[in-house]
């Protein structure tokens, strides 16, 4: 469980790490849009090259990115099976003991796989190179213009940062409880269904109890320090957009534009 790669910050202090979080978020959103444009494999090629070079720039290991893919592997397999059964257009590629596998089924699956791979690469790039707190500051700033439409930007950012802050704590806590219950003979990997249900209950109930307790304590601690979401707050960390941020933004716009043209003409 300590090896969860998805959404973990990796401090390598590369140039990508030093970009402004707001620009990084916007850049990620633009690249996401580019991924969803129907630019065929040519478009994906362009984005793929960009994504790979970004990973190299950020000095993250490719193994780390691939690890983030693990949780979706099962879903992709499932998708392939469904596609093989449902999509019956194009030409027959293989005849699997009477089951005809059509080219479109394989193409369609490959499409989705590539899309997901790129999406995960880019989102992992954002979360692995931006400290969670910077990320929430960025989100808060980006949501600020919507305050006029009664979007509670600060509250949303605070909620996200609290949630992010407590993920490692909860993982630690659940590991501790699992170990404690294992000492009482709980075995999550073996046993009949009803034994497994009890085993899972023995983990979830204590986890809930302590989470509620922790939430209450946190609320008290925040109130004790005079926290109020409505009052105007200053910030310890001031975000500043510099030249390199604008350059990165311009480059991403350029990529988006080229993918749009590719989608238009190809």
């Amino acid at each position: 469980m300590t090896n969860i790669a998805l959404g973990r910050y990796i401090p390598t202090n590369s140039i990508i790490h030093r970009l402004d979080p707001r620009i990084k978020i916007v850049n990620m959103l633009l690249l996401m849009i580019a991924i969803f444009l129907p630019a065929r494999f040519a478009g994906y090629g362009v984005i793929g090259i960009i994504a790979v070079s970004l990973v190299l720039l950020s000095r993250l290991k490719f193994g780390f990115i691939l690890k983030s893919l693990k949780p979706v592997m099962l879903m992709l397999m499932f998708l392939l099976v469904i596609n093989v059964f449902v999509l019956r257009t194009g030409y027959v590629v293989i005849n699997l003991f009477g089951l005809l596998v059509y080219s479109d089924a394989l193409f369609q699956t490959a499409y989705i796989v590539v899309r997901l791979l790129l999406m995960i690469m880019i989102t992992t790039l954002l979360t692995a190179t931006t400290k969670p707190l910077d990320l929430t500051l960025g989100i808060e700033d980006l949501l600020a213009p919507f305050k006029r439409f009664k979007v509670p930007a600060h509250e949303i950012a605070m909620m996200i940062s609290i949630a992010l802050r407590f993920i490692p704590t909860l993982i630690e806590e659940s590991q501790r409880i699992m170990k404690a219950q294992a000492s009482r003979g709980v075995d999550l990997s073996e046993g009949k269904i009803n034994e497994k249900i009890v085993a899972i209950l023995s983990l979830i109930v204590p986890l809930f109890v302590s989470s509620f307790q922790r939430a209450e304590e946190l609320a008290d601690a925040m109130e004790a320090r005079g926290y109020s979401p409505t009052s105007i707050r200053t910030r310890y960390k001031q975000l500043k957009i510099t030249m390199k941020d604008w350059i990165s933004f311009a480059l991403v716009c350029l990529i988006l534009a080229s993918v749009v043209t590719l989608a238009w003409f190809v």
Partner: protein, 284 residues
């Protein structure tokens, strides 16, 4: 020796930026029937070491033998259940592991997992609850409505109900009031007298002085002392420093020495100390 640790190493998140050596080639042993205290500063590897004793954590290097069962690095441990039943491990703040609707059910949970029948489990649970000082009026109450100290008792009863041969305790008195802490320690001493080997992590040297027979001291993942309690307090200065508080009895001994009063300066027992002062004065 009931537990033999041989060159045991443990590394958290190996091969990553977060890699951290919690234990470095630790070699030590625990005598059958002893009351062994494991001490050391926070982060010295105490908790990691004791979690090896019932194979919750398996070594990344070296091995250990627990009551005849060998656990080695890079080797999957088979038949964990008998080991887990033999070595009862009480975590720090064990009250967070309670989850059943009633206290009796929660204590029965362990024995049932190890294959006891309902009736057997109920008998053992009642006995264990009585042992920790909770009478029948508690059986049907929810564990969540108890006070912190009572919850801790229920959690410890839950482990005692496994009838372990070795009882491992990770700071069992943390956060308890002095009275609750004393009665908890008396319970462990009682269990020790009825042949249960006790291994206890603690920061309280006074508990070590009053209850332990042997001491293992860790510092930054290595053993810095291993031996009897008497040797620990009389032959070394390890009890001073390392963030530990000197027990009152030792403070008294240094005070008496400074005042040039003759007494047996090796005793760790308050009554004996008092008697030796009397004798010393008679001689003068």
């Amino acid at each position: 020796m009931i537990i033999d640790v041989e060159k045991l190493s443990y590394e958290y998140s190996p091969n990553s930026v977060f890699a951290y050596h919690a234990l470095k080639e630790v070699t030590t042993s625990i005598k059958e029937g002893s009351f062994t205290a494991i001490i050391g500063a926070t982060g010295s590897g105490k908790s990691t070491l004791v979690q090896h004793f019932n194979a919750l954590v398996t070594p990344t290097g070296g091995s250990l033998v627990v009551d005849g069962k060998r656990i080695s690095a890079n080797e999957k441990v088979k038949e964990l259940k008998p080991l887990r039943k033999k070595v009862g491990l009480v975590f720090q703040f064990p009250e967070y592991q309670l989850f059943e609707e009633t206290i009796l059910k929660d204590v029965m949970f362990g024995p049932l997992n190890f294959g006891a029948t309902q009736i057997e489990a109920q008998d053992i649970a009642q006995e264990s609850l009585n042992r920790v000082g909770l009478d029948s009026s508690f059986y049907e109450r929810s564990p969540l409505e108890l006070s912190g100290g009572q919850k801790r008792r229920v959690a410890i009863a839950g482990i005692l109900a496994l009838r372990p041969k070795i009882l491992v305790l990770d700071e069992p008195t943390a956060g308890l009031d002095p009275e609750g802490s004393a009665s908890m320690m008396a319970l462990f001493q009682d269990l020790n007298k009825s042949k249960t080997t006790i291994v206890m992590i603690t920061h309280d040297l006074n508990h070590v002085l009053n209850y332990a027979t042997d001491v293992i001291m860790l510092d930054q993942g290595s053993v810095v002392f291993e031996g009897s309690k008497d040797d620990f307090f009389n032959e070394t200065n390890l009890h001073e420093g390392y963030g530990l508080v000197k027990p009152p009895l030792l403070e008294l001994r240094s005070y008496l020495k400074a005042k040039n009063i003759t007494f047996d300066d090796h005793t760790l027992d308050l009554d004996k100390l008092a008697r030796s002062i009397k004798e010393g004065q008679r001689h003068d």
